[in-house]
């Protein structure tokens, strides 16, 4: 099966953003924190391609630097949620019985609670900041992975090669590490890739609500929030939003294509 042109384009966009994030200090035409009160609220021009904000900071430079926050945060939140979820879900599926009942009860509960409200309470309680926003997303999301991994483990356990391994006297630990884990890992990776765009979006939402980094830090969600009071100066909010949109679309397409290529079983999800 060949990757579609759309998937190739999306992969290119993701790679481009990764490169932009890595090279932001070299590429950005201005310091992201440099204020210029005289040149504040200036529209897009040759000097400031994407205009300046209420403090005269260059929006292009801030968007480039913002990628250095959003991309790692999105990846970290998903990896942490997937690890925690896989651990709980894997054990629930493998050990079963009481632990399984308890784990599934807890996930039921967490899934009924809207993510943003949960994350809101957690960040409000832990204090605002990037690290706590990541923790909040992780806590809100691990149940999805736990449910998913549990289902996979239950299915794999019944396979013949696992039954054979049991018959040959392999220990639980060996079966879990050698036979079960490798067979569920690829599905988890696919689901996680699909979620990165969503995580970037959720982090930007929290940041928009004022629960992310402090306002001077160049972060996309808080840049958009700063544009709320300047509806006539449309460029302040529009460009950071386009940055988020392009990145999440690209991650979603890459995730979809990866799923179709590696794991057609998941198509229905």
């Amino acid at each position: 099966m060949k990757a579609s042109p759309l998937a190739v384009a999306a992969l290119a966009v993701v790679s481009l953003w990764l490169a932009l994030a890595a090279a932001a200090p070299l590429l950005a035409p201005y310091e992201p924190l440099r204020q210029d009160i005289v040149g504040r609220l200036a529209g897009p021009s040759a000097a400031h391609w994407l205009g300046t904000d209420a403090l005269g900071r260059d929006i292009l430079s801030r968007i480039l630097h913002g990628a250095r926050i959003s991309i790692p945060v999105g990846l970290a939140a998903v990896v942490l949620a997937a690890l925690l979820g896989a651990l709980v879900g894997g054990l629930a599926g493998f050990v079963g019985r009481r632990f399984d009942d308890l784990a599934m009860r807890v996930t039921d509960l967490m899934l009924a609670f809207p993510t943003v409200i949960l994350a809101l309470v957690i960040t409000a309680a832990l204090g605002v900041g990037i690290r706590n926003a990541v923790i909040a997303i992780m806590i809100a999301w691990w149940p999805t992975y736990a449910r998913f991994v549990r289902g996979l483990v239950l299915a794999v356990r019944e396979r013949e090669y696992v039954q054979v391994a049991y018959a040959l006297g392999a220990s639980d630990g060996r079966i879990l590490c050698r036979y079960v884990a490798p067979n569920v890992a690829s599905s988890i990776v696919v689901l996680a890739t699909l979620d990165v765009g969503h995580a970037i979006l959720t982090f930007a939402s929290l940041s928009f609500l004022g629960l992310g980094p402090p306002p001077e830090v160049p972060e996309w969600g808080s840049m958009i929030a700063a544009g709320r009071n300047y509806l006539d100066e449309w460029w302040i909010a529009t460009f950071p939003g386009l940055a988020i949109l392009s990145l999440t679309i690209a991650f979603n397409v890459v995730g979809d294509s990866l799923r179709d290529l590696l794991d057609p079983r998941l198509r229905k999800l």
Binding site: R105, D108, L109, M110, L111, A112, F113, P114, T115, V116, I117, L120, V121, I122, A124, A125, L126, G127, G197, L201, A204, S205, F208, L209, G210, L211, G221, I224, A225, G227, R228, L231, D232, W234, A237, T238, P240, G241, I244, L245, T248, I249, N252, V253, R267, K268
Partner: protein
């Protein structure tokens, strides 16, 4: 389930390092031990956690949600005022996404790889990827600041008075009160936030419906229907679309939770006086009686939405019986 939600919020409120005393009294008052002691006694914070939880549950059973620390009103009253605003918004948004998303999905599957199919796929991709707080702002820039087609954020124009509260839904209440002008104004305020809120679900539903319809169109009974000489329209609507709806309906129920998450953001952008804005304000001031109230209401809505989905199954597919 509901007991679980109260326990979850309660545990969270006691596991946090932040202190609600400082959050609601302010640094200065919190420095005075007498004020702090009085505050703790007033809100029952001087008791042990299990005692506090038992008191809370006992009050809850009698319909008492406690008093909000930030609004100083009974939480029940706060919720009653704000809940209908959010449900009105959410129901309209959900209806929009169903009415647009499902036909788009079917059309897209039937005319596979046509222009309309490509367009639907783009719409659904953008729908699930777009940050709604940004879309809301862009919509305000275009339709309010630019074109002047929609009124400023809020639920009703400042010049109009709200009709007496019966259901709490402004559209219904103003019609009941015989004031169509108010209903029209409320509708004008509602359109933009509801449209923005519906984008994610629209994307998801169109995409699922497309996939589901494509699967069904490959089934034997569809071929049989065609072989019988049924019109293509008949085959699509009676045989394919109806069966394709079943997995989609499940997702409608599950996505209601996500829609309520979205209201937190949309209500903040559009100054919509609903549950989402209340959740945001009370959560940031660590007003736990209020947050627990919101949690209970939201979880109830989620459970009810999924119950409605179970009933909808039976309507779509007579083979499924409720209660089995």
């Amino acid at each position: 389930m509901l007991v679980g939600i109260t326990l979850l919020t309660f545990l969270l409120s006691h596991a946090v390092p932040a202190d609600p005393v400082t959050a609601s009294l302010g640094e200065q008052a919190a420095a005075d031990p007498a004020v702090v002691a009085a505050f703790r006694r007033e809100w029952g914070l001087d008791r042990s956690p299990p005692e506090q939880y038992a008191i809370y549950l006992w009050n809850l059973v009698r319909g008492n949600f406690g008093v909000s620390i930030s609004t100083r009103q009974p939480v029940w009253l706060d919720l009653r005022q704000r809940f209908p605003a959010t449900i009105e918004l959410a129901v309209v948004a959900m209806t929009l996404s169903i009415l647009l998303g499902i036909p788009l999905g079917v059309l897209s599957a039937v005319k596979r790889d046509s222009v309309i199919d490509q367009l639907t796929r783009v719409v659904s991709l953008v729908g699930v990827s777009v940050p709604i707080f940004w879309l809301g702002l862009v919509a305000l820039v275009i339709f309010y600041a630019g074109l002047g087609w929609v009124p400023p954020p809020g639920r009703l124009s400042a010049t109009l008075t709200a009709p007496p509260m019966v259901t709490g839904f402004l559209l219904v209440d103003s019609l009941l009160a015989g004031r169509p002008a108010v209903a029209l104004d409320a509708l004008r305020h509602l359109t933009l936030p509801a449209a923005v809120l519906s984008t994610y679900n629209l994307g998801i539903l169109a995409r699922l419906m497309r996939g589901s319809t494509l699967d069904i169109l490959g089934e034997d009974y569809v071929r049989t229907a065609r072989a019988k000489g049924l019109a293509e329209k008949e085959v699509t609507l009676r045989h394919a679309a109806r069966n394709a709806l079943i997995p989609v309906v499940t997702v409608i129920g599950l996505s209601f939770g996500r829609l309520l998450s979205g209201t937190v953001i949309i209500e903040s952008v559009f100054a919509w006086p609903g549950l989402g804005l209340y959740a945001f304000r009370t959560a940031t001031s660590l007003d736990f009686p209020a947050i627990m109230g919101v949690g209970i209401v939201v979880a109830t809505v989620y459970v009810v939405a999924n119950l409605l989905v179970d009933i909808a199954y039976a309507l779509i597919d007579p083979r499924i019986q409720v209660g089995q």
